[in-house]
Amino acid sequence: MTRKTGLVFFPAYDYAISPTHPEREERLLYTQDQVLEEGLFDFDNIREFKPGIATPEDICRVHFCVPDLDTVAHASHLIAAGGCLTAADKVMSGEVDNAFALVRPPGHHSFRVVHGSRGFCTLNIEAVMVEYIRHKYGVRRIAIVDTDCHHGDGSQDIFWHDPDVLFISLHQDGRTLYPGSGFVDELGGPNAFGATINLPLPPGTGEQGFLYVLDDIVMPIVEAWKPDLVVNSAGQDNHYSDPITQMAFTAHGYAELNRRLAPDICVLEGGYSIQTALPYVNTGIILAMAGLDIAHVREPDYDAFDHRQPGEITDYLRRLKEAVFEQWHARSTLKRRFYPDGEFHTRSKDIFYDTDGLREHQRETVRICPDCGGTIVTDSRCDDTGNRILGITIPFHACDACRHHGEHQYEAAPSGRNLHVILQDKDRDRYLVRT
């Protein structure tokens, strides 16, 4: 059955990190050629939309930009995020059934605090979109399935404590690839334990393996969790031709994955094989979302014989499934072991910004709360820039206790010349800065 699909295509032909960087101007050039040549915009059920531009309010609902938004972000980031918001608006208003934000630069490596760029990302565009949807349309439960080859560590960080956002990341095993995280035992914070699921896959995993993981692990969890909206963080660097990863996924596989997952919104993330993968993968995803025939989606150099799945991958994935469900079923017991009773839980993070060469030290304290996501206090400093912030996040649907705690922290915190105290009040949609 065909579906009305919205496409926000924004290749940002005048933006690059550097001329030969993988995330560069012509990244979507050949995709545009292919999509135009295939005539996809002419299908009656596919419509192209111009991206909007995200506002500072949209960004501040997610991020603490240090020292401020203008310093860390470029117009391209606001348009990429804006493109996601346009996609969301078209779906939420019912103008289309689903939408694909085919935009760059990407965002899933950006954490709640942003001192600079990491993993080619500055602003977490789908997190900005998710918070926009919750704020503007009051949607309660959202599932993000991150199918980029890299662990979506930024999205995981942002939604770690959020019981209303299910975050599932499929990625090449962190022991073999940037950012080196995303292991099976990373399951979320004390107030959202089990709402984060990580599925590290062995290098060489291809179509058969991905679809097995989707059918046997991802779909049962998504279905049990009953989201109101499903987002695919649709990176394309699992492709067999990608220059910076070691996976073996195919264009047809990406199309089939999206057909089965049937996300409401897709957001492009990574994918750096700009000539031999992206044109075909994107064609496949668009056809799949629009409910059109994907049987003929294939790369010119694809050879089924080369793509048989090695036995050890089959075995590994079966063991992965067992491990994931063992944890999933025992999640209440596991939670007590991970987070013994107490009023607060604190974790420390050292975050490296590979793109900008910065290092951030962070202490994050969440109020353990059975009634809401819990107020989070983030103390972050970057010695390379000398910037420091104390960020207080009051969650959506905050309980009274968490609200009082958050407001008190904001008022009581000592501020100084080098310490900005910020209140990010998601529930009342306000962002206050005390310098």
Partner: protein, 559 residues
Amino acid sequence: MLLGIDVGGTHTDSVLLQDRTIVAKAKVATDTADILGSVLRATCAVADVERLKRVERIVLSTTVLTNAVAQDQLDRVGLVVMNGPGVAPADLPLAGETTIVAGYMNHRGIEAEAPDEPELNALADAFARDGIGHVAIVGKFSSRNPLHELCAAKIFVARARHVSLGHQLSGQLNFPRRIATAYLNEALWSLHARFVEQLAGYLAEIGIDVPLYILKADGGTIEVARSRDCPVQTILSGPAASIMGVLPLVPTDVDCVSIDIGGTTTDIALFAHGAPLLQPQGADIGGHRTLVRGLLTRSMALGGDSQVRVIDRRLVIGPERQGSAMAFGGPCPTPTDALIASGRADFGDKAKAAQAMADLARDLGRTPEETATAVVAQACDHIADHVRGMVAEVNAKPVYTIHELLEGRVIAPKRLIAVGGPAPCMADEIGVRLGMPALVPPNHDVANACGAAMARTTVELNLVADTEAKIMSIAELGERVKIPKRFTDEDVIAAGRERLLRIAREAGAREEDLAVEVTDRQSFNVVRGQFNSGRNIRVRVQIKPGLTHAGTGPSEVRP
């Protein structure tokens, strides 16, 4: 002097122009069974043979092909499509008439799969056996590399009457549209060839040796002999003539909108600082989406003869037309009757117009005078809404750079130009609603023929240079030439300019009209590993639609 002839559905108009002034004009009835005869009668009505001999050129806009498409008088075409992977064959246009064969190019114009010669030979035999003399061959990405289409053409051309190739009709990307374009071109080829031969034959017979042109959908002219290869480009010459007809009045310092209020429909067009806007992808022709370069128009189902009814005590105008206005003996009330009854127009049978309004007024519970005013107001509201909608739609067109998104050109019309029968009686009221002054050109009744007469020759070329592969392809010419590794954007533009001028001259352009415009220019790195291994340069050059300078010089004859 220039002679312009516009063959419309009911009338064929002709004008003789000198210095953009009408020297003579005429209207004759169109005989749809004998278009050539209509053309000749319209010609004779403005000039005798002696005068015709002194005409600099004759330009024709005709509906011969438009009608053929509408009435499905199309030749059977053997449609040969090299699809490769991607969209399923069943989802391609004309899937029922298509034969899919092996072979396709990738997005850089590199062969991904070779055609299968025995397969093509067998198909050519089958076509010959079935008496299919018209063949259209279309390959994926053939506008990046036409080699496969050319190879296949060699096989089919020996046994077919004529073969159309996708890449020759447009240099743009869009495979499904390329299929539809090549198909229509081939399906109309014989009809057009016959018409052109008869016309040229007749003019030669009476001793007239004047360059003869035909108007294309993009508002440009092409010499009739050259048009034989690309009949599909001339299908929409009628609407193009109407837009070109208002061009002399279009200001070049501001944006502007034109409306052509006809009997059943009103057509809207936009002008950016004097230049008519083109369809971004290509024109829609008889339900086929094509790659034919066409002027941008929006048609709405509201005209002077639209049926006006009262439904649930509300006025409803259109979309049907039952006949002419009651004031002209028609069967039901129309906006034209409202114009007459309210005193805005002074023609037709006033009593019948008043009766039309009285009928509506009864159902509406208002006076006939109020009703007439309300009909006109509602029609004007409706047209103004559509104009605003079209402007918004054009401005919502996606752009692909940050610069364009933040600082891109926005179309903001400041003038309204109205043509068509009811135009003089409605223009001001529509203008007021849009907040812009309205203008009705004198002689707007023959605006189309004037537009045809004054249009200049247009040509477009798409070039892609790949300095890594050291190849430059010029789509429309089917050319692939070797280039040095250091080839720059400027070199590509220069190469495009040189070829564009050559083709324009061959198509009959005049030297003074040869203003080359670069409409698209993009240049990207081709990166291999960590290194820059070349550049991918895309350039589009055109001679844009506009008015010719011809016929504006001193003349040896005076009317």
